[in-house]
Amino acid sequence: MRITNNILSSNLLSNLQKSSNKMIDLQNNISTGEAISKPSDDPSKITAILGLKTNITSMEQWKDNASQALDYMSSVESVTANMTSMLQRLRGLAVQGSNQTNSPEDLGEIKKEADQIIEQLGVMANSQVGSRYIFSGTNTDTAPWPGTGLWTGNTESLSVELGANVSFDISINGQQLFGVNSATGVSDFFTALNNFSTALNNGDYAAVGNSISDLDSLLSSFIDGRAELGAKISRVETINNNLETSIINAQTNLSNLRDTDLAAAIVDYNSTMNTYRAALSVGAQIIQPSLVDFLR
């Protein structure tokens, strides 16, 4: 092939351009830390990358949901714990009051304490966490025990999303907890408390003694409720931990797919740089001389 000066210079130029292009790609990879920055960099990997990224954001959302659910359930749990210990105290008072050695004055003292506790229990039955009434089911914006003393809540579940198509019920069943008659809205809870208070007032030792078993059944439904809540809390904690591990795994996978292998990229860059330098210095030598330089 006949080689002309133009071929020499245009080939040198196009080779230099190739090296420069490769260098700029590598520079981008190194400075952004991402080997795949456009779908066209690797169309087969982009699907996996998009999937992982979306997955990670979803999992982070679920993790947020889980910690909110945990906060909520712990608050509910502490309310029910307080109510349980109050019921236990009431039971203690009932045992004490059923003893016929107590004088009517003594019963009066017991009644004073019992009424305080009963009143407090009434307030706590309308507890809120944030702006939510916790014993109302999904009627979270209305107090479950308005002045009428009839329950206005429902048994619908309060759901949060803790995974793909995993909705988790964080509510406590008010109907079961307070022994509400679903037809009338009248509750065993308040009936029993009222009976106890009345019995103390009347100085009726037998009726006070009957209240012990009523209070026992109230206590057992509260303990059941707390046990269920505790089980839910520990399940959400497990889900939370699993999500944390999954997020870390997904991030590792994403990084493997997308991130630049820095060592390889830098080695690559240096070798490209060397090629470029060599092309430059050889270019400087071959472009210059021609026969013209030697004719004198």
């Binding site: 795949i36 066209s40 944030g130 979270t140 619908e156 759901s159 198509n165």
Partner: protein, 508 residues
């Protein structure tokens, strides 16, 4: 017996011939870097010999040399190959340029992309499900939804403006082709006039080839050259340039002294888009009628622009619209079956801006009523007896749309648009869309690279044949310089001989 001074005449011819050859070398050296220049060769020929009779035999005695002609070194076959590869290269690199712009629309792999807008939208619903009675979460859902619709508007607008840019480029290209057509016609005339005079206008031909090279970047070009049979004693060429599909009924752009022009079709057949089509302009003499130009297949930047504008970007918009419709339909289906903090039910979450036309990427908005009152955002199942503000089943179902259609079958019926989609989820469809776009860009980049190698090789082959090598020219220069010096030497010798001759018989 021939003239005593014939040797001087021969030497004189040698001087002239060598000088012309050196001048040609000078011309080559001056144009060593001129684009499109082909090296020229001074062709020398011995003059007709003189026949003398000596010893009753005829002897031919040479009378020197003359410059027969100056020709350029050029291969029309290489030209044709080069132009074909150039056309293909320009087609793919034109596609690559547009596609890489398209690729940036989604801004994927960055953190501010369509997919992150979608994720944030679904997550806002999940958040709302945690506390459906709080207006703060409702406002977040509204804002994320509005910013998702704005991203869709923005992408749609970018498609439109890219299509308009391409349309402008098509219009400009038409003007450019018309200019080339006129220039070739002018050169055809000049070359023909020169050739009729017996001249060989190398530089004009170089210019013409250069213009055809430029033309081949825009459209595929076929050149037909032949000798005019009306001239037998000299060569006068016919020169025809065809563009587009060379087998089409009418593809002649220039033939000898007649140039034809293209026009943007004033009445586009596709009235909906309003984009120009490339048509032939009817010529005054009636040899050309107005008709659409057959641009051939996969060659030239013009073809690439038109394909991207009419086919690719329209399909791209179609896919984007499908995505928008699927999101709107599925969210609406669930939203209609739900209820917010008011007693209203059956509300659409997304609507089109004028409420009547079908939803597209360009006109999707969040229902204006919802934008005005976030309490209308449905979170729970519609209930005739009242509002249970803590019910978040619908919000959860909408949030779950990001991973599949299961929640649709639980609370509503599956809209037709999803049945025909054939994707397992919105993300699945979107991933497919992005991967397809990525492969398209990758393919056009690879094709453009491959074509560029071929075009470079052919360009090098052409350069190897027609380019100026300075070394070669220097050697030629020395050759012709020596020839010139030697001829001058001959004159000196003859002068001495003549002096001796004239000195004979002169007595001192």
């Amino acid at each position: 017996m021939y003239s005593t001074f014939m040797g001087l005449e021969t030497a004189y011819r040698a001087l002239i011939t060598s000088q012309a050859a050196i001048d040609t070398t000078g011309q080559n050296i001056s144009n060593a870097s001129t684009t499109g220049y082909s090296r020229q060769i001074a062709n020398m020929q011995a003059t007709t010999p003189l026949t003398i009779t000596a010893n009753s035999k005829d002897l031919s005695i040479g009378t020197g040399s003359f410059l027969r002609d100056i020709t350029r070194v050029r291969d029309a076959y290489l030209d044709q190959q080069y132009r074909r590869e150039t056309s293909q290269y320009e087609y793919w690199s034109g596609k690559e340029a547009t596609l890489s712009l398209t690729e940036q629309f989604f801004n994927e792999t960055s953190n501010y992309s369509l997919s992150s807008d979608m994720s944030e939208f679904w997550n806002a619903w999940s958040d709302l499900a945690n506390s459906p009675e709080e207006s703060a979460s409702r406002i977040v859902v509204r804002e994320k939804a509005v910013s998702l619709t704005e991203t869709f508007h923005n992408i749609d607008q970018q498609i439109t403006s890219l299509q308009n840019d391409l349309n402008n480029s098509v219009d400009t290209t038409i003007t450019k082709i018309n200019t080339f057509s006129d220039q070739i016609q002018l050169l055809n005339n000049q070359i023909r006039n020169a050739e009729i005079r017996g001249d060989n206008p190398n530089d004009l031909k170089d210019q013409r080839d250069q213009i055809v090279d430029e033309l081949s970047k825009i459209v595929p070009v076929t050149v037909e050259e032949s000798l005019d049979p009306n001239f037998t004693d000299r060569s006068v060429g016919n020169y025809t340039v065809r563009i587009g599909n060379s087998t089409a009924a009418d593809s002649v752009l220039v033939t000898n002294g007649s140039a034809y022009h293209l026009q943007e079709n004033p009445v586009p057949t596709d009235a909906a888009t309003g984009f120009s089509e490339v048509w032939w302009e009817a010529s005054a003499d009636g040899t050309k009628t107005a008709a659409e130009v057959d641009l051939g297949n996969g060659m030239g930047s013009l073809q690439a622009d038109i394909e991207m504008r009419d086919t690719y970007l329209s399909e791209f918009r179609g896919n984007l619209n499908t995505l928008v419709i699927v999101i709107a339909d599925s969210v609406n289906a669930l939203h209609q079956s739900g209820q917010g903090l008011t007693t209203d039910t059956g509300l659409d979450f997304f609507t089109s801006s004028d409420l009547t036309s079908p939803i597209t990427a360009a006109n999707i908005i969040v229902n204006q009523d919802i934008q005005d009152d976030v309490n209308l955002i449905a979170t729970g199942i519609a209930d005739a007896t009242g509002v249970s503000s803590g019910d978040s089943s619908i919000a959860l179902a909408i949030s779950a749309l990001s991973s599949g259609w299961d929640s649709l079958t639980t609370y509503a019926s599956v809209p037709a648009s999803i049945t025909v989609l054939g994707a397992s989820s919105i993300l699945d469809y979107y991933e497919g869309l992005t991967a397809e776009l990525g492969s398209d860009v990758e393919q056009s980049t690879r094709m453009a690279e491959g074509q560029s190698v071929l075009a470079t090789q052919l360009s090098n082959s052409r350069e190897a044949l027609s380019g100026v090598s300075l070394d070669e020219e220097m050697i030629d220069m020395i050759r012709f310089q020596k020839g010139y010096s030697s001829a001058a030497r001959v004159v000196t010798v003859l002068d001495t001989m003549l002096e001796s001759l004239l000195g004979m018989g002169v007595t001192k």
